[in-house]
């Protein structure tokens, strides 16, 4: 790995930036269960798993880009769009379509480039500053982080986490143990039957509209965002809901009671369907709403 980086650095000194947009169409043999490391500052990266034991990169390098590093060392493959170190010229984004062996693990890093991953079965780690991230299929595990980009994970039955600062997180049809957090972005969980879900925000809103597995667990915590939990009428769960100064609306059971005669706090503990799963919702000042769907 270090050797690859050193080689890259040496090449960077001698390389000349691409003065026009340049087509890329390259392939390298790769381990069926190796790790593919991808780096692209701006533009887009679309990664798809396939049944061949090779990595294929197609697309375009933006004007001003220095080169594409594409190499394999052991079971690691590197795909990196390299920009000039000291360029004062505008560098266009690069758009890459990358096919990887389906069993690969991924490590993807972008600044503003959007990332889309599908049909990859290994563990995937995706990081962006302002780019959006979308993941489909069933990776073994996912870990997606972005500062201001939005994250959308669809139909993953795997465990994973999605973290943003201001971007939104959408977990659609997920079934594994998942965790999502954001400071001011909104968190949405929709569809599927979840086993363990942890949702945390500071000011972002939380929306959960899915089923809970038997003995599943849902934790939703926010300081000032709102929490909306839409659960099937047949949900069997124990609920523990509290807010320091927000409001609690409950369509699934009893009305919340005040925690003190003088303070604004409210709390609610009850069970539906004989209990089983556990739902914990807490806010400082945000409202909490429990709805039957």
């Amino acid at each position: 790995m270090r050797a690859i980086r050193l080689l890259g650095a040496a090449l960077a000194v001698a390389a000349v930036p691409v003065m026009a947009q340049q087509r890329v169409d390259e392939r390298r043999p790769a381990s069926a269960t190796g790790t593919v490391e991808i780096s692209n500052v701006s533009g887009s990266v679309r990664i798809t798993g396939w049944e061949q034991a090779e990595v294929a990169v197609t697309g375009t390098l933006g004007r001003g880009t220095e080169r594409l590093d594409f190499s394999t060392s052991g079971n690691r493959t590197l795909v990196k769009v390299v920009l000039p170190h000291l360029s004062t010229h505008h560098v266009e984004g690069s758009d890459l379509e990358i096919k990887v062996p389906a069993g690969s693990s991924l490590e993807v890093e972008t600044v503003s480039a959007d990332t889309a991953v599908d049909k990859v079965l290994g563990a995937i780690r995706l990081e962006s500053v302002s780019g959006g991230i979308t993941v489909g299929g069933s990776p073994r595990q996912f870990d997606a982080t972005s500062v201001s980009g939005d994250i959308e994970i669809t139909a993953a039955s795997s465990p994973g986490s999605a973290t943003t600062v201001s971007g939104s997180v959408n977990l659609l049809g997920v079934a594994g143990d998942v965790k999502a957090s954001s400071v001011s972005g909104n968190l949405v969980v929709k569809g599927g039957e979840t086993s363990r879900v942890e949702l945390e925000t500071t000011s972002g809103d939380i929306s959960f509209n899915a089923a809970l597995a038997r003995n599943g667990r849902l934790d939703a915590k926010t300081v000032s965002g709102s929490v909306e939990l839409d659960l099937p009428a047949a949900t069997a769960a124990d609920f523990d809901v509290t807010t320091f100064s927000g409001d609690i609306t409950n369509e699934l059971g009893p009305v919340a009671r005040r925690t003190s005669e003088y303070g604004p706090g409210k709390e609610l503990s009850f069970a539906t369907g004989g209990g089983g799963a556990r739902v914990v919702a807490k806010s400082f000042s945000g409202s909490i709403r429990l709805r039957k769907r």
């Binding site: 780096s39 500052v41 701006s42 920009l83 560098v91 890093e109 972008t110 600044v111 990081e127 500053v129 302002s130 982080t145 500062v147 201001s148 973290t163 600062v165 201001s166 957090s181 400071v183 001011s184 363990r196 945390e200 500071t202 000011s203 003995n215 667990r217 915590k221 300081v223 000032s224 509290t242 320091f244 100064s245 303070g263 706090g265 556990r278 807490k282 806010s283 400082f284 000042s285």
Partner: protein, 223 residues
């Protein structure tokens, strides 16, 4: 009852606040599962460690003037030692990881351990007079949070030139959101020191800010 179920209930079991039915089930599972017994022992050890913390630690109510002063000191220190950026970043990350781990540990103690009306702690784990695991845990979390925050804000300063103005704006705006939330919750806790939910939310806010700032130190630059 499966291991995951026991794991979810272990804190309350160790605290002695679990309802009888669940307590019996957990105890039965522990009797036959070595992995969960190890987890139970670890939880008890954490509780004992929290009780051994200095009792004089008080959560500060107004952190920011002191933090601002420390940020200045941290910048001076950075300059004096002349660390290369990469080394500085590694140093900050190592420190941040350590304190973030400390926050995570005390979070276990600060959350859900202060339940009015709950059963008393089990024999042999008596809490010192005037101090609860929750209050000690929160005080420790605040101290580690302050230390981590100072280092990471200095790291943010060091990276200012490598991040886009838009990203910096997002980071700073969200740091302010968390700071405001922390201030509001600290003020509320001062008015209602027995509140059992605010400490958990405070620790969550601390962790979010540490995670945010730590991530800034590792963000890819503009290239």
């Amino acid at each position: 009852m499966k291991c995951d179920d026991v794991d979810a209930l272990l804190d309350e079991f160790v605290d002695g606040t679990l309802p009888d039915g669940d307590r019996v089930e957990v105890a039965r599972h522990l009797g036959s599962c070595g992995r969960c017994r190890t987890a139970e022992a670890r939880t008890r050890a954490l509780l004992a460690a929290a009780r051994a913390l200095p009792r004089g630690v008080e959560p500060s109510r107004d952190l920011w003037p002191a933090i601002a002063a420390r940020i200045q000191r941290a910048r001076v220190t950075h300059g004096e030692f002349g660390l290369a950026r990469a080394r500085w970043r590694r140093t900050v990350l190592a420190a941040a990881a350590a304190v973030a781990a400390a926050i995570a540990l005390v979070a276990v103690l600060a959350v859900g351990r202060h339940k009015p009306g709950g059963a008393p702690p089990q024999a042999g784990l008596a809490t010192p007079p005037g101090a609860t695991a929750a209050s000690l845990g929160l005080a420790r979390a605040q101290a580690t949070y302050e230390a981590a925050r100072v280092q990471l804000l200095a790291a943010l300063e060091a990276r200012r030139g490598t991040l886009s103005p838009e990203t910096l704006e997002v980071v700073e705006k969200n740091v302010r959101i968390i700071d405001r939330a922390v201030e509001e919750m600290q003020a509320a806790l001062a008015r209602d020191p027995g509140n059992r939910d605010i400490p958990g939310l405070l620790v969550t806010a601390y962790q979010q800010e540490i995670d945010l700032l730590r991530r800034v130190a590792t963000l890819p630059g503009r290239g």
